[in-house]
């Protein structure tokens, strides 16, 4: 089911930050992991991911480093700066609170009119 673009856009930054708290990753790897973990629900394009990565890098939340992988290919890895790490955790907490609030509304039994 295709998602609303705005909805997707608002979660890209959060998901990227969350994944990078686990380890340093390169762009294609992030897309692959998101795709796997959402069972293909989220299939980001390059135009979706890279501007977000660059923006976070510009804000000082990410650092980049070119590394040669086991395949011999050179890839640009992104990792969180300490500032980015705090920001990521803050964003995740914020999302949980938000999601719980939304869920609380969505899951509550419907009011029966007297």
């Amino acid at each position: 089911m295709p998602f609303n673009t705005e909805l997707v856009g608002s979660t890209v930054e959060l998901l990227v930050l969350k994944l990078l708290t686990e380890r340093a990753m390169y762009g294609y790897e992030i897309i692959q992991i998101v795709n796997e973990r959402t069972d293909g629900a989220f299939n980001w394009k390059e135009g979706t991911l890279y501007p977000v990565l660059h923006r976070l890098e510009g804000k000082g939340y990410l650092l980049t480093e070119w590394q040669v992988g086991t395949s011999g290919k050179s890839r640009k890895y992104y990792r969180l700066t300490p500032q980015g790490d705090s920001y990521a955790r803050e964003k995740v907490d914020e999302w949980h609170t938000f999601a719980q609030s939304v869920h609380a509304v969505l899951a509550a039994p419907a009011l029966v009119a007297n």
Partner: protein, 733 residues
């Protein structure tokens, strides 16, 4: 090599970033890698290569949309990097060049000042290879030293000087200086000046000696020194023909009978006075106190020059008197006034004693007193013998022999002293100790402790380190200018000016490592090496003959300081170029090409330097031909290099453009940290050099130019006085 389709796609997507070629290449490379990963994944799922490529391209979507997003995401970063580049171009590089020029000019100006002070002073340093520059003429035809001391034409200043100090308790000091340096003009004024001096200090022989010299200069014509003087006596009392005949016969003559008699009378009074004091050291201190506090070497040399010019200005007067005494006696003897002649000649010993006592502050004065005493003893023997005073003649002869023994004994000391002294100076002496050469020729090894020589030696080290840093700065500046020119050439040659990146500084870690391992560590190693006697043990001082070794060390350090940081930074740039997908030459090929270019440049520089600086009367056309030859060699080298490098033009262009900020930073760091620290060290060691510049710091140590000079000159003066007072009944051995 990336797939051309992906390469184009990525380039289109990153097109908005072309204003920052490094960022453009970085993003393009990232997107390419992404597309390739995607295509590989599809290929692994069983699709053909073409299908995988096509699917990956389709999945990428419109590059225009991606480009807009990427530009928006990177806009702020581009602005910041643009500002940084602008700062490098407009601020860092010009600042580095300006600092390098400032330091270079500072060195040139300091050397000029040092040479000027050295040359205008009485002491002279041996010509140093580093200071062998032409001396600029002083303004107004007179040196600052002359102006300060009131050289001829500045009597009014001296008068004012006396006026300013006349109310002080020790005003006689300033009066003596005033009387000594005031140019004699009218007789009435001059005599009145000296009479007032007599009233101030009745026991000082100074004023009578000044009057004696004044009258005898006018009263007699002494062949021995007048023939060497350009000026003829204006008061000639004979016709030109007689004068020429006298000259031809090498004869002394009386010019003015009255002045002759007055001069002799003053001479005999002076010989009866208990002391002679000219107060030069006191005046030196007063004048030095009026100068700004010395800081660097040239300031100290200025102080030395001021001191020397005051102290030695009066030596010619004593010489005139020394030559006049036997001349007077001969003239009197010729007139049959034998008793008067003997009486005048008898003044030689007391006057020699007065000169010897006054020469206990500065060795040159002591040595002059020795020379005058020896001359007078020799002339005295001849004159006494001619007058028939055999006892006095014998006494003079004995004293002459003893005086010679006194000097020889003083110079040589005990057996082996000369060797020990030279060994001491070779091991511990400094370059500036050569200023005190006459002093060191008279010292005994026990008179001098190596610790006293340490500050002078450390000062030498600092001077040479300053020179090393300045040389490195010059080389770095040339490298900076060279890389800027090369960058422009590559931009032009590749006609892709907008795609050759100017890498903003390699990572801070790389720069820090380059500075620490490439500059600080080699300099520390050299610093330790040059100070540890067991390893390097280099001493620049006296007789050490270290110049070839220093030149080799200097060259080694300069090459190392250039090569190491360049190698480290180039390593970082190569890594970054690899990340950006810029084609790189093999390291081996790059090194061999660089070596050939480097050798070509060195050869061209040597040819140009020889053409420009070769001494002698070489035709300008030949010099021009040499310069053209150098230009030709460099052109051939460049063409060879560019032919081999063309394929990797992007890399070489990036290298050239990116090295310039690194060189600029190195220059700024060296100029703002190393050079000021060395200047501070120079000032520190100079301030602690009590031996060479002790008169500034240890005023209570006694009169004298320097500490060692005080010791030596007092020792010599004592020996001289003992000899002159010795019992002459016993013949000299």
């Amino acid at each position: 090599m990336p797939d051309p389709i992906f390469d184009q796609l990525a380039a289109d997507a990153a097109a908005g970033l072309k204003g920052d070629p490094e960022l453009f290449l970085d993003v393009k490379q990232e997107l390419c890698a992404h597309l390739e990963d995607k295509a590989d994944a599809l290929h692994e799922q069983g699709l053909s290569e073409e299908e995988s490529t096509e699917l990956a391209r389709q999945a990428f979507g419109s590059p225009l949309d991606v480009a807009a997003e990427l530009l928006e995401a990177n806009r702020r970063k581009m602005k910041l990097r643009g500002l940084l580049r602008l700062a490098f171009g407009m601020l860092i590089v010009p600042l580095a060049v300006a600092l390098a020029l400032y330091v270079g000019y500072g060195r040139f100006a300091r050397e000029q000042a040092m040479i000027a002070w050295i040359n205008e002073g009485t002491y002279r340093l041996p010509t140093l290879p580093l200071l062998g520059m032409a001396v600029a003429p002083t303004t107004n035809g007179a040196s600052v030293v002359q102006q300060l001391n009131g050289a001829p034409g500045n009597a009014e200043n001296i008068r004012r000087y006396w006026e300013a100090h006349r109310r002080q308790p020790n005003h006689y000091i300033y009066y003596a200086f005033y009387a000594l340096t005031l140019a004699p003009k009218a007789e009435n004024t001059y005599v009145a000046t000296m009479r007032l001096g007599e009233q101030l200090e009745p026991n000082n022989a100074l004023y009578h000696l000044l009057l004696a010299e004044y009258y005898l200069e006018r009263g007699i014509w002494v062949y021995a020194y007048r023939m060497n003087r350009k000026r003829k006596p204006p008061e000639l009392i004979m016709d030109q023909e007689t004068f020429e005949r006298m000259k031809a016969e090498h004869r002394d003559l009386v010019l003015d009978r009255r002045a002759f008699n007055l001069g002799m009378a003053e001479l005999r009074i002076a010989a009866r006075k208990p002391y002679l004091h000219e107060y030069e050291m006191e005046i030196v201190r007063t004048q030095l106190d009026s100068l700004p506090r010395p800081l660097l070497t040239e300031d100290y040399l200025e102080q030395n020059s001021v001191a020397a010019s005051i102290q030695f200005s009066q030596l010619t007067r004593q010489r005139t008197l020394t030559r006049s005494i036997p001349a007077c006696a001969r003239l009197l003897a010729k007139e049959g006034r034998t008793a008067d002649a003997i009486a005048v000649m008898d003044t030689w010993k007391p006057l020699s004693l007065l000169f010897a006592r006054d020469g206990d502050t500065v060795l040159i004065k002591g040595l002059a007193a020795y020379a005058y005493a020896t001359q007078l003893a020799k002339d005295g023997h001849d004159v006494y013998a001619a007058l028939g005073a055999q006892t006095a003649a014998g006494e003079a002869q004995t004293l002459f022999a003893r005086l010679k023994q006194c000097k020889d004994g003083w110079q040589q000391g005990n057996p082996g002293a000369k060797f020990a002294r030279e060994r001491l100076m070779r091991q511990h002496g400094s370059l500036l100790s050569s200023l005190l050469y006459p002093v060191f020729s008279g010292i005994q090894p026990d008179d001098l402790r190596p610790e006293e020589l340490t500050p002078g030696r450390m000062h030498d080290h600092v001077l040479f380190e300053e020179f090393t840093v300045e040389l490195v700065l010059i080389i770095l500046t040339l490298a900076l200018v060279g890389t800027l020119i090369q960058g422009v050439i590559w931009l032009h040659r590749l006609r892709r000016a907008d795609s050759i990146p100017l890498l903003l500084l390699p990572p801070a870690k790389t720069i820090l490592r380059s500075l620490v391992l490439g500059i600080v560590l080699p300099m520390l190693v050299y610093w330790c090496y040059s100070r540890l006697p067991l390893i390097g043990g280099r001493e620049y001082g006296w007789l050490s003959g270290m110049w070839p070794r220093f030149a080799a060390e200097l060259l080694g350090v300069a090459v190392l300081l250039l090569w190491l940081p360049h190698r480290m930074i180039r390593h970082g740039i190569r890594k970054r170029c690899a990340e950006l997908g810029i084609a790189l030459p093999e390291k081996k090929d790059e090194s061999s090409t660089t070596r050939i270019v480097f050798i070509g440049i060195i050869v061209a520089c040597i040819v140009a330097a020889v053409a420009i600086f070769i001494p002698g009367n070489v035709s300008p056309l030949l010099r021009l031909a040499g310069i053209l030859l150098a230009a030709g060699i460099s052109q051939v080298g460049m063409r060879y290099a560019s032919g081999r490098r063309q394929r990797f033009g992007m890399y070489y262009g990036t290298l050239a453009r990116s090295l310039s900020p690194v060189y600029a930073f190195s220059i700024i760091l060296l100029s703002l940290i190393a050079q000021p620290w060395l200047l501070y060290q120079e000032a520190h060691w100079l301030q602690n050099d009590m031996l060479t510049f002790g008169y500034l710091a240890k005023k209570e140590s006694g009169l004298g130019m320097t500490l060692i000079e005080v010791r030596t000159s007092q020792h010599f003066s004592k020996l001289l006085q003992q000899t002159l007072r010795s019992d002459t009944q016993t013949p000299a051995p």
